[in-house]
Structure formats: C-alpha cells, structure tokens
C-alpha cells in the first residue's frame, strides 16, 4: 500500500464492494486524485463508476477499504468530509413536485445555510446554470438537460471543494454541453477539484488532466491524459476524393497501410509520431485530388478499447 499524501482531494485504498445479491462490483480499487485536479473516470457500462461515487457519498456501503477526502477518513470525519463534497448523481434524484428554487434552498438548509444566505447562494448558482427564470416552476416541468443543470446547482449551493459528477452531460445538447464545460473549467480554475465520469470521450479529452479507466471493478489505466494520448501508436485517417478512384493509392513506405472504402474514399493508417505531409505529396504524384479528410475514430476511443483488451 502506498502512503496517502495530504495533497490529495481524494484517496481510495483497497476498496471492494459486493452487493447484497452477491455480485462483486469493485475488486480492490486504489485511486488518488490531487487537489485542484480535473479528473476523468472512464469505463464501460457496469464497470463500477457509480458504485465508487456511491461509496464516496455514503449512499453505498463499502465491503472493505478506506476513503479519505482532503486527508480525512469519510468513516470517522463524517461532517467535515461531507461538507467538502458536492455530488451530481447519474440518475435524477430530486422531488418532481417541488419548485426548482425550493429544491436548491432546501439543500442549502441541510448544510446549515438559511434565510438570505441560502437564497443568495441559490440565486447565484441557478443564474450560473441558466435556470433562474425557471425558479418557480415545478421541477418535473424542466427538460432533461435542465434537470441535469439543476442537480449541478444543487450540488454547488454549499460551495464544496470537491465536485463529483456522474455523467453530467448525458442527454445534454452540444451547445449546452460546451457551456457546461466552460462552467466546469471556470470552477476548476477557481480551485474546485472536479471528478467526472463520462461516456463522451471527447469530453474527457478536452476537460481532464488526469484519467483512470475502470473495467469490471478494477482500475486498468491510471495516468495523465497527455501520456495516455501519447501511448496511442497509430491513427487512421479517412480521405474523400474529388474524382472516382481508378485504383487504390500506393505508398512505398511499409508503415503506411492503405485500403479503399468505396469509389470515392479510402483510409490510411500510420504511426502517430509521423507527419502526414508525405502522404499528400504521394497522392498528388498519383493525380488523386483530395476533397476532405478526417480522423476515423476518436483517438481516445481506440485507446479505451485497447486498454480494456489487455
């Protein structure tokens, strides 16, 4: 076991969970997230992400293992650790009958804030999440994306130092997702440690500095985003041509593999360490005019899949 550094926002050691039906969802998780980090927890459906978050937030009881939040054990320092924690769950979990404003103000009350202070905080975060106009609506009248934002506002009302979001952008449209990203980045710049789980790999790639990949209750990768991306050896590029292809383009470089897709497109796979100028030169030589080019798959996606395989 490593020793636990006080600079960690969260430290998890030897965490296991066997549910009442006998299913072992976590098989010994060790994980550290540094203070001020923006951390991604990635993994396929059923990997155990929500179980970890459930245990951190005390909604799920661990079978064994220890968790520290800012250096304090969640089992013994219940009050302080909960005060520094904000949770945005995966599933909607507010009352469908309450008003949006009341939900946030009530949450403030659970953290010992009331009256004008609770109202100010609620207003601040409802405005930031673009829900202020909806404050008098019953929560069930919100759209799916608004409901997610309401859960973020609710989690922030006591201004926690660590914010954990379980798939915050599921079902949120692209424009809103971008503005949510900006909001989270601003929060992170102002000192809030953020951990999120997501299935949108692009999201992890553009937001997070460090990443852990979990599969079947075990951490299979735990590194910085930079290193992870560097590990990816090859990329695949798809080219669309202006004219019909008479024959597949040829390259006299064994590293470059080319396959035609149809009469107007082909794909090329090559090492990420190489530049692609040479490819254009070779294509021009063969009289092939390129109309467009794109990356075949999300690089992180490939990496993700290759991490899961081994």
């Amino acid at each position: 076991m490593q020793s636990i550094s006080p600079k960690n926002a969260i430290s998890i050691r030897g965490l296991t969970k066997t549910y009442a039906n006998g299913f072992q969802a976590l098989k010994g998780i060790d994980l550290d997230v540094k203070e001020n980090d923006f951390f991604a927890l990635l993994g396929p459906n059923g990997a155990g992400k929500s179980t970890i978050i459930g245990i951190i937030s005390t909604l799920v009881r661990a079978s064994s293992g220890a968790i520290q939040v800012f250096g304090q054990d969640v089992a013994t320092h219940v009050y302080e650790t909960k005060l520094s924690l904000g949770i945005v769950p995966q599933e909607i979990n507010f009352s469908q009958f309450e008003k949006v404003g009341d939900i946030v103000i009530t949450q403030a009350g659970y953290y010992g804030l009331r009256g004008d202070l609770a109202k100010q905080r609620a207003e601040k975060y409802l405005r930031k999440l673009d829900l202020w106009e909806k404050r008098d609506n019953r929560s069930r009248m919100l759209s799916g994306g608004m409901k997610r934002r309401l859960m973020i506002a609710r989690a922030l009302v006591h201004e926690p130092r660590l914010l954990i979001l379980d798939e915050p952008t599921a079902g949120v449209d692209i424009e809103l997702r971008r503005s949510m990203w900006e909001f989270l980045q601003e929060l992170n710049r102002n000192g809030t440690t953020i951990i999120l789980t997501t299935h949108y790999l692009e999201e992890a790639e553009s937001l997070c500095r460090n990443i852990a990949i979990i599969n079947q209750g075990q951490i299979v990768e735990n590194t910085s985003m930079r290193k992870l991306l560097d590990k990816l050896a090859r990329q695949t590029l798809v080219f669309d041509t202006c004219d019909e292809l008479e024959s597949a383009p040829t390259f006299n470089d064994p590293d470059i593999l080319c396959t035609t897709i149809d009469s107007h497109s082909f794909e090329i796979s090559l090492s990420t360490s190489r530049d692609i100028n040479g490819i254009y030169a070779a294509l021009s030589e063969q009289g092939i005019l390129i109309r467009g080019m794109r990356n075949k798959t999300n690089r992180l996606e490939e990496l993700f899949l290759s991490s899961l395989k081994n």
Partner: protein, 262 residues
C-alpha cells in the same frame, strides 16, 4: 472551521429545513391530507354522535356524542400523523430525493426528528380542524388544557415514529398501506374510541390493556371530559415508553442504513 460534528446551530437549521419541507408538502396537497379526515370524522360525528347517539344514551357517564368526540379526534390525529410520515418518507425514498439529505452532513437523529415533527404538525393540524368541526355537533369544554395538548403531541409522535419505521422497510406503495389496514385500524377501533372498555368481559379488558391506543384515547378523553378508563399517570408513562422505544428502533435502523443505503 467546525470540529467533527455539525454545529448545534447548523443542526437546528437542518431540522427546521426538513420540518418546513414537510409542512409545505402536506399543505400543498391539502385535498389529500387535510380534507379527507375532516369529511370522514364529520360523518362519524353526524351518524354516531347525532343520529345513532341519541338512541344509545349514556356511555361512561356522558352523552354518547360527548363520549366519542374525543375518541374520534384522537383517531384522526393517529391516522394522519402516521400517514404523513409513512407516505412522505417513502415517497422521498421512491423519488430518491432522500439522497439529498443522506449525502449531506445532517446526522440521523436530526433526519428522524425532522420527519417526525412534520408528522406531528399534520396530526395537530388535523386535530385542530376536527376539534373545530366538533363544535357543530356538541359543545365540549376542555377540562385539562395542558394535559390534552401533551397527549396529542405524544400520540402524534408515537405514530409518526411508527410511520417512519414502516417507510424504512417499505419497498412499494402497498407496503405503506398494509400496516394501517391490518394493524392501525383494528388497534384504533378496539382502542376505546367508540365504547368504554367497561362494556367488555374481563378477558377483553386484559387484552385491551395491551393496546397503546387505549391509553392515548383515554388520556385524551380525560383531558377533555375529566374521566378515563385507565390511570392517567400510568398512561403518560406508557406513552413515554412507546416514544422512546420507537425512537430507538428508528435510529438504529437509520444507522444500519435499512432500506436506504446499499
């Protein structure tokens, strides 16, 4: 920075927050929470008190209508205190919004006190409505005001606690209607609301002595009429014992996470 436990002031704010939320809930759905007891109990007043009561004559030394009014008020208090906590807490579980409190630093006993106070508020509110209605049927004056209030508060506390425990164990909405139907209603109807236990054979009186509702109804009746089938101090003591016992059980279950934490 506060120590490892919530500041007393913060605990009070959390308690108040839960209580306000509970009151907001039952006043928002007043058609389901405040009107039905007024209608049912009003019908009891009319039928048993005025129509049939005249033929029954005296019960326990009073006109029948005067005898059953305190019992019926108590019945309303019991049913509504229980129903408030069992349905509110279960619906919090069902909608998962109980997680809002469970992830926060609010200690278990404050959660329990908050919901129980909410149930007591509904019990007292319904008690007041029904008492006000009773003035249309008879003119009672209250003999012992303090005792009457104390009994209403203790009774609504006992049944709020019972409703809370029911909701902790409940997995479906059926589970919170089974206990009221099969346990609560028989206890109330056999608890001396409609008759004095002097009417029962000795064996029946012994059995009745095990029914907590009997103590509540009789102490309440004593508070209003000045007469009772049971010893008042003993009854108050029993109420205290029931409250403490149920409080302990509910707190133990909360600590264990029964029905709440996986």
């Amino acid at each position: 920075m506060p120590g490892n436990s919530m500041l007393t002031n913060h605990k009070y704010i959390a308690f108040e927050t839960i209580l306000i939320k509970e009151i907001r809930r039952f006043t928002r759905i007043w058609l389901q929470t405040l009107v039905p007891p007024a209608i049912t109990i009003g019908l009891y007043f009319l039928i048993f008190g005025n129509l049939i009561g005249g033929r029954i004559g005296q019960m326990g030394g009073f006109d029948y209508v005067d005898f059953i009014v305190p019992g019926l008020i108590m019945m309303a208090v019991i049913q509504n205190a229980y129903a408030n906590v069992s349905s509110s807490f279960f619906s919090n579980k069902f909608q998962r919004c109980i997680e809002e409190i469970l992830v926060s630093p609010v200690p278990n006993y404050i959660i329990l006190l908050g919901f129980v106070a909410g149930g007591m508020a509904r019990g007292v509110a319904v008690g007041l409505i029904v008492t006000a209605m009773s003035f249309f049927f008879t003119s009672l004056h209250i003999e012992h005001v303090f005792l009457t209030l104390l009994v209403v508060l203790l009774t609504s506390m006992v049944f709020s606690l019972a409703g809370f425990i029911n909701a902790l164990y409940a997995n479906t909405f059926d589970d919170i209607s089974i206990i009221p139907t099969f346990v609560l209603t028989p206890l109330i109807y056999l608890g001396g609301v409609f008759y004095s236990i002097e009417l029962l054979p000795t064996f029946g009186q012994w059995i009745s002595a095990l029914n907590p509702v009997l103590y509540m109804v009789n102490t309440f009746r004593y508070g209003i009429l000045g007469t009772s089938d049971v010893n008042i101090l003993w009854a108050l003591f029993m109420l205290g014992v029931f409250s403490a016992g149920l409080f302990g059980v509910a707190l133990y279950l909360l600590r264990k996470g029964t029905g709440l934490r996986q």
